[in-house]
Assembly symmetry: D2
C-alpha cells in the first residue's frame, strides 16, 4: 500500500500517517520528493486501516499495490486447477460443452433436449429449476419438479447436470438432485449464498456479474475457496455496456485475463454473452480460441416457444452446427507478397 | 407488442406469426408497408410468447410498447405514495435525512453517532449489521450484536432505524430489532430475498443495482408490491461507468425519471453515489433540487478509522455542514443586459 | 510515479528499473518490502519513459501519483477563473443561462427564439450552423447562412452567441460572426481542432466527450490553455451508459468534481444530459444546486417540427417554466421528532 | 416508424399525428388496441419528422423499425466486399496482418520493425506520423518526417502502409506518401474529416469509437460510402467500460455482428483492445476465430522505450509468437462418456 501525501501536507500530517501505518501492523517507509512525500506500508497488516487513511488530513490518495485475492491466484497455485463433475473434467486438455434449455419446462422438453445435445457432443446438461426473472410476471421455474426431471435426464443420458441456485434455502434439495450448482450473474455478490455454498460438497459454477470487474469476480470466488470449497469454475457471460444491439457485451479478453490471474478453470456462455442466436457459432469459436475451458449453451426444441430466453436459444440443428463449427480450422493468414512495391500514384 | 417482419418474409411466415399471436391471447393487426409488414399484438395476452417470436422465421425484431411494470407505475396510481416509518414520512412535503455509519462497529461508536446526527437534524438512523463486502477478508459486520445496539440507539434517540438485510434467513431477527429493511444494491435482483420481503410487515428501502436500468429497478420493486408489501422506498446510489475518479456515477436524473414513472418515494445516497467526502455537500443539494424525497448519508466519528467506507464517510462536523448546505438558497441566475451589443471585432 | 516490481523480480531487473528511472530524469528511491520491492521516481522527468517500464522485465505495475494536467488545475491557480463573453461573465456569482435551438433552421425560427429566450431571462444565445449528425442523411446545418442569422439575432437582442465548430477550416469564418466557439462532445479529443482553437481570440465552450473521464476532459482543456487560450468554459452534457430510458446519463457529480480539480468555470447541458423534455426543469435545478456556473438549454418554437433534437427541446412556455423553477427554494428538510420512540411490535 | 400513443391520448391528438405522418411523406396506418392506439408510418418519407413526434401531445414513444444505414448494409449488397490496398486484399479468404509501431520515432526504429514484421508474416505496415494524445505534453508524432520514413519502409519491404489522419488539412500530404488512411477511434464521428475522406482515392481504415454502438460505427462508414469512397475497412479496437484491468473491453462479438449487418471487411486491433502485451496472442486467435478479416498489431523494437503505447506493444520475438499462435489448431472438444452415470451421493 502506498499513501501519497498531498503537496501541502505538513510534517505533523506525515507523522500522523506514519503512526497509523505502524498501528495497522505495517512498517512505514518514507520517500520525500521535491513536490510531495509518499509513505509505503511494507509487510502485512490490516489493509482496510490503510485504505481509510484516504481521508486523513494531508493525504491525497492511497494506492493498493498487491492484488486483494489470494487462494484463487496463480501466485498461490501456479499450475491450473481441474474441476471434476462426476467424471467430466473442466480445466483439462479438452473443451467441455454444457448444453440444455434455459428453463426446464416439461419432462418431454428436457429429455428430448438432453438426448439431442448428448448426441451432438455435449458432455454436461444444463436446465433451470429456479429462475431469476427481471419481472415478477414472468415464468419463475418449476422448482422441485424440475429438479426431479433433471435427475431423470441425468440417469437416462449419463450427462452430469448443472442448475442454478438462487437462495440458501434451496441449497440442500438442489444438492440432492444435481451434480453442480450455478451461481447466476445477478447473485455473484450474494455473499450469504456464497458463504453457504463454500460448505457444500458440490462443484460451483460462478458466473461473472453483469457489472463486475475481473477482480470482483475473483474475490467472489475467493469467498468459496476461503470457506472451504475448492471446486470452482468461473463463467464469463457478458457485461452491461452502452451497446444495445446485443443483450450483453461478451468480454472474451476477460477469459484470458482470468486465466492469467487465477488457476481456476474458466468457461464462457455465448448465449447470454450475445443474446443472439445468429452470433453463437462465431463467438463460441472465439471463446475456445481465447482459451476457455468450456462453453455453456442454451438449446431448446423450439426456441420460439421457449418460456424464457427464446431469442438466444438454439434449436437442435443449430446446436449441431455450432458443434461442427468448433472443429473447423482457423482461417489462414495471408503471406506477404515477395515483389517490392512500386510507388502508387 | 409489435412484430416487425423482415423484408424477405414470406406469406407463410407472416401467417405463422399471426397464428402465434392469436394463440398467445392477443388479436393480431397487420400493417403491410411497401418494404415490410408489421403485425401488432393488440389486447392482453402472454407477453413472453410474443417476445419469443423474435426467433420465428421471417421475423426481424419484436418491440414492446407498454412498460412491463404495473403496480409501481403512476398509471395505476397517479398520486404520490408516502411511506411512514414509525412516524417519519418519506414522500411528503419534507426531505427526510437518514444518517449513520456504514457499519455498526461498537456500542459507543453507534450511540455517539446517533446522538450527533439527531442533533444535526437527521430524522432516521442507518447502520450496517450484516455487511456485503467485496472481499471475504474484510470486516463482515457484528450481526445480532449490532442489531441490539441499533435498537438501543433508537430507544435513546427516538430515531427510527434502517439496516441492510442480505439473506432470507436473517429477515425475522432483523424485523424484531429495526424499523425498516434495506435491500442493498448488489441484492436488487436477489429475487428470493425480494419475495420474502414482500411478506413482512416492515417498509423496504430498495437500492438500485450498480448496473440496473430504471426499468429493472422498478420491476424489482414490482416484486415487493405484487407480493403484498406496498411500503417501498426507492434509493439511487450510483451506477458503474468508465469514470474512475469517483466510486460510482451518481445518476440524479434517474431520481427525476423514477418519480415520473412511479408513485413510490425516491431517496438518494450521495455517499455511495460519489464515494468522495469532498463532494457530499454539493451532490446532496443537487439530489434535493432534482426532487429526491430523502437522503441517506454515511457518518462516522472518525472516518479514517472506519472499518468500512471510510473515504466516503463524513465526521460530525462534516455532516453538520451538509445539513446547513441543504438550507442555503440556489445561486441566482444572471439577468440579461439591457443594452444591445455592438459587434465585437 | 511508482514502479511496483513483481514478487519474483530479480536484483538485475530491479537494477535495470533504477537505471531507467535515472535516464528518464528522475531520482530513484527504493523501498524493499517482505514480498516485493517498489521503486519511486522522484522529481520531474520524462513521464512516458516511466510509464513504458510497465513492460520491463520484473515489473508488475506502474502507478502515476500526480495528476497529469497542470494549467487547468487549482494547484496552479487556486482562485476560480471567470470567462467573459462580450459582457456576460461565466464563473462569477450568477448562473448564466444560454438558450436557443439545436440548429438554426431559418431566420424567423432563430429570431423568434432569440427574443423569446431573452424575454424569459437567458443571457446568451446558442444555435447550430454546422451540425455533427450521426447519419449522413440527417440535416447538416445551414453553414454560413446560419452564421449570418446568428449575427443578426445578436444585434437585435444584445445576446452574445455561441455556435459549434467542427473543423479547423471553419474557424475563421465562425470567429467573424459569433462570440464563443463550442467544441462538441464528439470532438473533445479532436486534437487538431483543439490546437487551432488554442490560437484564436475567442472563448471556447468545451463539452465533455460521451465517454471521457473527468481527467481526459481536463487534459483536452489543457491543450487549449497550454496553446495560449485561457478563455475556456467546461460543459458537462451526459455520458454514455447502459441506461436506455434517457439519451445520456447526466453526470452532475462530475460538475462538482471538475470544479474541485480545476479553476475553470463549468456549465451543464440538461438537454443532451437527459434527452427528455420532461426532465429538464428538475435536472436544471440540480445542476445549479451542484455548483454549475451556467446552463445551456435547447429551445425551439415548435419542438415537434425541429430538424434536430426535437425530443429534448423546450418550447417557449416550457423554457419559461424552467427559468421560474430555477428561482424556487429547495424543499425543506424534515425536523427530527422530539418524543422518544416506543418499540414497534 | 411506429408512433405509440399514450393511453390517455385524445382523438384530436391521434388525428394530429396522422396528419403529421402524411405531411412527412408517409402513409399512416392506425391500430386501435384496448388500451392504446398505435400509428405506423408506412412507405418512405422524412424520417426525422416522425422522430420529432416524440414530443407531440398524446405521444408516448416513437420506435424506428428499419435500420438507418443503407449503402453499408448487406440488404443493399449481400456479397462481401474486398478492399485492395496495393495488392493486399482485405475481406478475401485470408486473414491480413498489419503490424508496426504505434508511432514512427526514427528511421532506424521503423525500418527495423518493418523488416521484422515482414519476416514474421505481416502483409502491411502501420506507423503513426500524427498522433492523437490525451495529454498535450506527450509525444505528438514526427509528422511529415514520419511520412517519408514510412514511404521508404514501403519501398524497402514492399509492404503497403497505413497511417492515421487527424485533420482535413493533412489529407493531401498523407495521400502522397501512404497506401491507406486510418480514422482513429476518437475521430470516428469527426464528420468534417469523414466528408473529406469520402472524396480521396485511398482506402480508409475506420476504427470504432470507444463509446460507439455498432449502428453508429456503420453510420460513420455510411458517410464515406455515400460521399463516394467505397474502399472502407472497419476496425474494432475495444470500447470503454467499467473494467479497469484492461485498457478497453475488446468487443469481439461486435466483429461478428458488424459482418452480419454489413458487407464491409472488418478487422480487429488486439493491442488497443486489451492494452496488455500478455493477452495479445490469445485475443488475436479469438479475433480470427470470430471472423475478423485481419488484425492490426503494435510492434516495437523495445516496447519499454516506446514513446507511446509501450505497455501494449510486442517486441519482435513476441510478434513472431503471435503469428505462430495464429496457426495452431483450436483445442478439441470433449466427447461425452458412453457409460451411464450412477447417482452421486
Amino acid at each position: 500500500m502506498i499513501v501519497n501525501m498531498s503537496e501541502k501536507a505538513t510534517e505533523q500530517e506525515i507523522t500522523h500517517v506514519i503512526e497509523r501505518i505502524r498501528e495497522a501492523g505495517y512498517q512505514p517507509h518514507v520517500t520525500r520528493g521535491v513536490e510531495r512525500t509518499i509513505v509505503a506500508a511494507v509487510g502485512s497488516g490490516r489493509r482496510h486501516e490503510i485504505e481509510a487513511l484516504q481521508v486523513a488530513p494531508g493525504v491525497d490518495t492511497v494506492v493498493a499495490i498487491a492484488q486483494p485475492f489470494k487462494l484463487v491466484s496463480r501466485q498461490v497455485r501456479p499450475e491450473r486447477s481441474v474441476v471434476e463433475i462426476n467424471g467430466v473434467r473442466i480445466g483439462g486438455p479438452e473443451v467441455v460443452v454444457i448444453a440444455g434449455p434455459c428453463s426446464v419446462e416439461s419432462r418431454e422438453q428436457l429429455l428430448d433436449t438432453a438426448h439431442a445435445v448428448r448426441q451432438a457432443g455435449a458432455s454436461m446438461l444444463r436446465g433451470g429449476a429456479y429462475k431469476p426473472r427481471t419481472s415478477p410476471y414472468d415464468f419463475q421455474g418449476l422448482g422441485l419438479e424440475a429438479l426431479k426431471i433433471l435427475r431423470e435426464a441425468r440417469e437416462q443420458t449419463g450427462l452430469p447436470v448443472v442448475t442454478e441456485v438462487m437462495s440458501t434455502e434451496d441449497v440442500d434439495v438442489i444438492c440432492e438432485h444435481v451434480d453442480m450448482l450455478q451461481v447466476g450473474a445477478r447473485n455473484m455478490q450474494n455473499f450469504a449464498l456464497l458463504r453457504r455454498l463454500a460448505t457444500v460438497n458440490r462443484p460451483i459454477l460462478l458466473k461473472r456479474g453483469p457489472s463486475a470487474t475481473v477482480k470482483e469476480w475473483l474475490l467472489a470466488a475467493e469467498y468459496l475457496l476461503s470457506g472451504g470449497n475448492q471446486q470452482v469454475v468461473l463463467c464469463e457471460r457478458g457485461i452491461k455496456t452502452f451497446e444495445t444491439e446485443m443483450r450483453n457485451t461478451f468480454d472474451l479478453a476477460a477469459v484470458a485475463l482470468a486465466r492469467d490471474l487465477s488457476h481456476l478453470p474458466v468457461i464462457a456462455d455465448p448465449s447470454h454473452g450475445t443474446g443472439k442466436q445468429s452470433l453463437i457459432a462465431a463467438v463460441s469459436r472465439a471463446a475456445v480460441a481465447v482459451g476457455a475451458d468450456g462453453l455453456i449453451i442454451e438449446v431448446h426444441p423450439c426456441p420460439e416457444r421457449a418460456l424464457s430466453d427464446g431469442p438466444q436459444s438454439l434449436d437442435f440443428a443449430g446446436f449441431e452446427k455450432v458443434m461442427r463449427a468448433l472443429r473447423e480450422p482457423l482461417r489462414p493468414t495471408a503471406v506477404p507478397r515477395v515483389a517490392a512495391l512500386s510507388a502508387q500514384s
